[in-house]
């Protein structure tokens, strides 16, 4: 069954350095690490200590508040180090991998014949549970609630996006098994949003409602699809899963192993040959970066350039990564750079640049803020990139003052911080909208739960 979702408004940001459709494998390194800060809202409790030996799939740590949620090793090896930050916060659990990976066996299973509890138990046991995220608040799902539906968006509209149909080309079976597994977890439906060009590829999908999504970014963000199909009301839960993670979940049932393989798009002008790499969650990236990145003052972003995280050269592949973008740093001055119709190499939603006249041009945007933070003056620009029946500026203002009741009224349960990424990008006042919303959600979790 295929239905269409048309999302108007929004903005595609065409950047240079898109990854070409080629997957290279990279000889695995020996250094791996799982990073608890990847999981927002997690208070990790360690299950291992330094020098312990683990198989792939063995528990490294679990959530202190919901102990059944476990986080497991992507490879087998020895716990090499546990790094802590301020207040003894655990930053990384590092593993020195064995040459040949040995897996903990969770048992193969025909997922179609399992019931909800069996699926849930397997996902929790194997460490695949944290791949499931929950709305409201965009945190990992609480296994004790019933989601009214589950959403997967395989339509990727972020700048320099990884193409999910390409990434999943050899994992159809795993993806299907994952979808079936997810369909067991909800009384409602699993909904899959796809781009029009991928309709043929995803025609194999069963056990899910497939929607074709049309529109500019943020049409690919799952929130906007949820709002169109099955909006979240106060007190309801909706779960979302990233397409690659669906395949990892599927592999668990097909092979009985936790296989944390990811195909990650390397993109941006800081990459010599932008393309995809087949990697393993937690793998150290320094060697790969040294080989593939251009020398110079660049910023490496794990995730997309709108809502990803800045990482260092010596870091590990993050848990949910689909892309790694490398873009130029922008610590330069621009003489009278604010003058209208000057600096037309910059992209803008406003027409104070001539850049809108060349819609097909691809930009090499850097990390310059292009101004300074200011009071909120301009109105109407946030709504242009927020295609949902929510007033983004009013919601942000309520979030700034932690006004919980107002946030509830204005739709905080329906949004995720990433939905505000384009507002970060476009707003004239250089407001940090994603940070404000994330902070507000933390307040909500604490006060409302």
């Amino acid at each position: 069954m295929s239905k269409d979702i048309h999302i108007k408004r929004g903005l595609n940001i065409p950047l240079q350095g898109e990854s070409v459709k080629k997957i290279s494998s990279f000889s695995p390194t020996t250094h791996y690490a799982i990073q608890p800060p990847d999981f927002h809202g997690l208070t990790p409790k360690l299950a291992v200590k330094v020098d312990d030996l683990v198989n792939a799939g063995d528990v490294l740590f679990f959530d202190k508040n919901q102990e059944q949620i476990k986080f497991t090793a992507p490879v087998s090896g020895k716990i090499a180090d546990i790094k802590r930050g301020p207040k003894r916060k655990i930053l990384t659990v590092e593993i020195l991998a064995t040459a040949k990976v040995t897996y903990k066996d969770f048992g193969k299973a025909d997922v179609a014949s399992l019931n909800q509890d069996q699926v849930k138990a397997k996902l929790l046991e194997s460490g695949c549970w944290p791949y499931i995220k929950q709305r409201p608040y965009e945190v990992f799902a609480n296994p004790n609630v019933q989601p009214k539906s589950i959403f997967i968006s395989a339509y990727n509209t972020v700048p320099l996006a990884a193409d999910f149909a390409f990434v999943l080309q050899d994992r159809k079976e795993a993806f299907q098994a994952g979808v079936t597994a997810l369909s067991k977890l909800t009384t409602g439906k699993v909904n899959l949003g796809i781009g029009a060009k991928d309709a043929e590829f995803f025609s194999f999908v069963k056990d899910a409602d497939v929607y074709q999504v049309f529109g500019n970014h943020p049409a690919g963000n799952v929130s906007f699809q949820i709002a169109k199909i099955d909006p979240i009301n106060q007190g309801e839960h909706v779960w979302t899963v990233n397409p690659q993670d669906v395949a990892i979940i599927g592999d668990l049932f097909l092979t009985g192993h936790y296989l944390a393989n990811r195909i990650v798009g390397f993109a941006g002008t800081g990459v010599k040959e932008p393309q995809y790499y087949s990697l393993l969650t937690g793998q150290n990236l320094e060697e790969l970066f040294t080989k593939t990145l251009v020398e110079g003052d660049f910023r490496i972003v794990s995730g997309n350039v709108l809502s990803g995280v800045k990482i260092l050269k010596n870091s590990y592949l993050r848990y949910f990564a689909n892309t790694i973008c490398v873009i130029p740093e922008g610590n330069h001055y621009d003489f009278l750079g604010w003058h209208p119709f000057v600096g037309n190499n910059k992209l803008s939603l406003s027409r104070t640049f001539f850049s809108w006249l060349t819609p097909n041009k691809k930009y090499n945007l850097d990390t310059n803020l292009n101004g300074e933070e200011r009071a909120l003056v301009v109105t109407g620009e946030m709504e242009q990139v927020f295609p949902m029946d929510v007033y983004p500026m009013q919601l942000l203002k309520a979030a700034m003052i932690d006004d919980i009741e107002k946030m509830e009224c204005l739709g905080i349960y329906e949004v995720a911080p990433e939905d505000f990424a384009l507002i970060d990008f476009t707003n004239t006042s250089k407001l940090e909208a994603q940070t404000i919303i994330r902070h507000a959600m933390d307040v909500m979790i604490k006060e409302v739960g």
Partner: protein
């Protein structure tokens, strides 16, 4: 420019924390960031940002005001010399106008920016760019004969009580430029209305008559001395920047093209004024009611007010639906005040100020609509369950 950058970088440490002139940091950084868009990079949130910033937006509005400013200067000369006779060459008129208008612009910026800098230094925050536009608007909506000290006082009143007490740029309820005009209007009425203030030296030279069209109509006379073309082109007495609808339209075109000003507000205000004008035309009992509805929009401050003041994003409605309502009522009230209250032939100023006050209420009801939709969705669900 490297030389300038180097110089600034050399003296910068004096203004940073612990430096000799730490207190004056906001002033220094205001000038520094005026000359150079700073090298700040994104820290949290999106790693790339739109090229636009508040300076660019504000400066776009100033660019849009320039045609009206230059025409205003020329017209000051034209109104003066066409009545007493003399050299009517373009440059002579413009030059004469400049000697009258530029001092007003300078006083407006000096007083206003001075106060803004003081508040920024006192509060230790950055100087916002809001006053760049206000400072240009204020002289353009004043009569040319307004004494400079009155202008300075109006500016000070508007900036301090209209804006800074509310927290500065972005927080004000009323449009500061209009507040300055309202202050002058009610405090120094003889200098803000009548037939002796709109043309330079009208009070001193008997041969000069400087009544505005609206003043003329309000006193019960029909317009015979000026053609419709005069009104459109702006060859009429009036506040410095308000007379030429053509120049204002050029500015409006820039604002609409760049998307800096709301087309919804402009359009709905014109619609509101048309509706009100048509109603008055239908039931006309005096010359100002009989004045054709479309000509209402060519005279007085209507065009200038609707294009440059009603669209001020801070004091106008913020929601899309709200903008339609807000603009429409500005149009209605502007014409209504003109017609009903002959003591205030300039209805636009009061109409916009009035709607500034109501803008948050309009937004409140629009947003309540959104909240209600959300609650209804939930209610339906509970019923089904």
């Amino acid at each position: 420019m490297k030389f300038l950058r180097k110089k600034l970088d050399n003296i910068k440490p004096n203004f940073e924390r612990g430096g000799k002139f730490e207190k004056f940091a906001p002033a220094f950084f205001a000038i520094d960031s005026f000359l150079f868009v700073p090298n700040h990079t994104t820290k949290t949130g999106a790693h790339i940002r739109d090229g636009v910033d508040l300076k660019r937006v504000m400066y776009t509005v100033i660019l849009a005001l320039l045609p009206a400013l230059f025409f205003g200067m020329w017209n000051v000369g034209y109104q003066h010399f066409s009545q007493i006779g003399g050299d009517l060459s373009f440059l002579h008129l413009l030059g004469y106008g400049a000697t009258k208008v530029l001092p007003m612009v300078i006083v407006s910026y000096a007083v206003g920016l001075g106060i803004e800098f003081l508040f920024a230094i006192k509060r230790g925050h950055e100087v916002n760019e809001g006053y760049l536009v206000t400072g240009m608007l204020i002289p353009l909506i004043m009569p040319v004969e307004l004494p400079l000290w009155m202008l300075a006082l109006s500016v000070a009143f508007a900036v301090i009580l209209g804006k800074e007490v509310f927290g500065g740029t972005g927080m004000n309820v009323l449009n500061p430029a209009l507040l300055a005009r309202a202050f002058a209007f009610f405090s120094y009425a003889p200098y803000m209305s009548g037939d002796q203030v709109w043309v330079a030296d009208a009070a001193k030279v008997d041969a000069i008559s400087g009544e505005t069209i609206l003043g003329h109509l309000a006193s019960g006379h029909e317009i015979t001395s000026h053609s419709v073309m005069d009104m459109f082109m702006g060859y009429i007495p009036g506040s410095i920047g308000e007379t030429s609808v053509l120049m204002i339209l050029i500015g409006a075109a820039l604002l609409l093209y760049t998307g800096v000003a709301s087309w919804r507000i402009m359009l709905s205000a014109v619609l509101g004024a048309s509706v009100m004008g048509l109603i008055f035309n239908t039931f006309a009992v005096n010359p100002i009611m009989a004045f054709p509805w479309w000509q209402q929009m060519l005279v007085g401050g209507f065009a200038f007010g609707v294009v440059f003041m009603a669209t001020d994003p801070v004091s106008s409605a913020q929601t899309t639906t709200g903008k339609w309502i807000y603009g429409f009522f500005i149009g209605i009230f502007a014409i209504m005040i003109r017609v009903f209250n002959s003591a205030y032939p300039e209805g636009v100023m009061l109409a916009i100020l009035l709607m500034n006050v109501f803008a948050p209420t309009i937004d409140y009801f629009v947003i309540q609509g959104n909240i209600k939709r959300r609650k209804n969705r939930l209610k339906k669900l509970v019923k089904v369950a």
